[in-house]
């Protein structure tokens, strides 16, 4: 299907595959398997695949647990387009959304011993760009093949 990613990602229109899965963590594994297979077929290296798997897992977990609040009647929509040059993945839940900029820094001294709050940071570190829609219930993960594999956390979150 033809999709229009958020304009700040400057991706234009994309022909993306779509999967809709029930809102549980086991079902959330199905898109991951398909996307990882596409990454391998397109020749992504081990470090890139590690980072994309981690980012996707964090996005899916956030959607199931926080976005849809574990509600089994809700669904997760995943869209993806994997080419040799770039991986673009969107994960959307049916929740009210959130403000990602308000999530506290999990590496600060006062938060370092909190069990939660590291998922968004990891997505930002391993992806070239991370972008949310205006209400925050749709996250876009972009990994440029040319981007160095070593993660960096500076300036990766693009305002939605």
């Amino acid at each position: 299907m033809i999709v229009h990613p958020p304009p700040q990602l400057r991706l234009g229109s994309l022909d993306m595959a779509e999967l809709v899965v029930p809102n549980d963590l086991r079902s959330a594994k199905a898109p991951e398997s398909l996307i990882l297979g596409e990454l391998e077929r397109n020749g992504y290296d081990g470090d890139s695949i590690f980072g994309l798997k981690l980012a996707l897992e964090e996005a899916m977990t956030n959607a199931v647990k926080h976005g849809n609040r574990g509600d089994p009647t809700k669904h997760i929509t995943v869209r993806y387009r994997i080419t040799p040059d770039r991986a673009v993945i969107m994960v959307a839940d049916e929740g009210p959304g959130f403000a990602p900029e308000c999530v506290p820094d999990p590496t600060s001294d006062e938060n370092i011993e909190r069990p939660n709050g590291r998922g968004i940071m990891l997505m930002q570190c391993y992806m070239s760009r991370v972008c949310y829609n205006a209400c925050g219930n749709e996250v876009w993960l972009v990994k440029d093949r040319a981007d160095p594999s070593n993660p960096c956390c500076e300036g990766r979150l693009t305002a939605g």
Binding site: F50, E113, N116, G119, P151
Partner: protein, 121 residues
Amino acid sequence: MEQPSSHLKIRHADGVAQVEFADRKILEELSIQEIGDELDRLVEGTAGIRLLLNFRNVDHLSSAALGMLVTLNKKVKERNGELRLSDINRQIFEVFKITKLNRLFEIHDTAEQALAGFSRR
């Protein structure tokens, strides 16, 4: 002495509980709660536990696993125990560095190095 466990291989030797994960993908979200519960039982059953988690079988983990480890570390400290991690591969160690949890946990390259530190106590 080795005890059977669904997610963990636990070996008690020289006053240290040495734990390995039974599956490479065990630290994924689906299993985290169960693994955390197993480790909790281990910690609660041994006052002042000296616990070594060996990551040599683990090739992936998520923030949920990190959260479980943070909670476990607090529980071990509260009970005057000591937790060490070892044999963490390069990709996973990068996750610890990004989240700065390499400063919170005592991480050793190998189980032998971690055990040597325990024995000096």
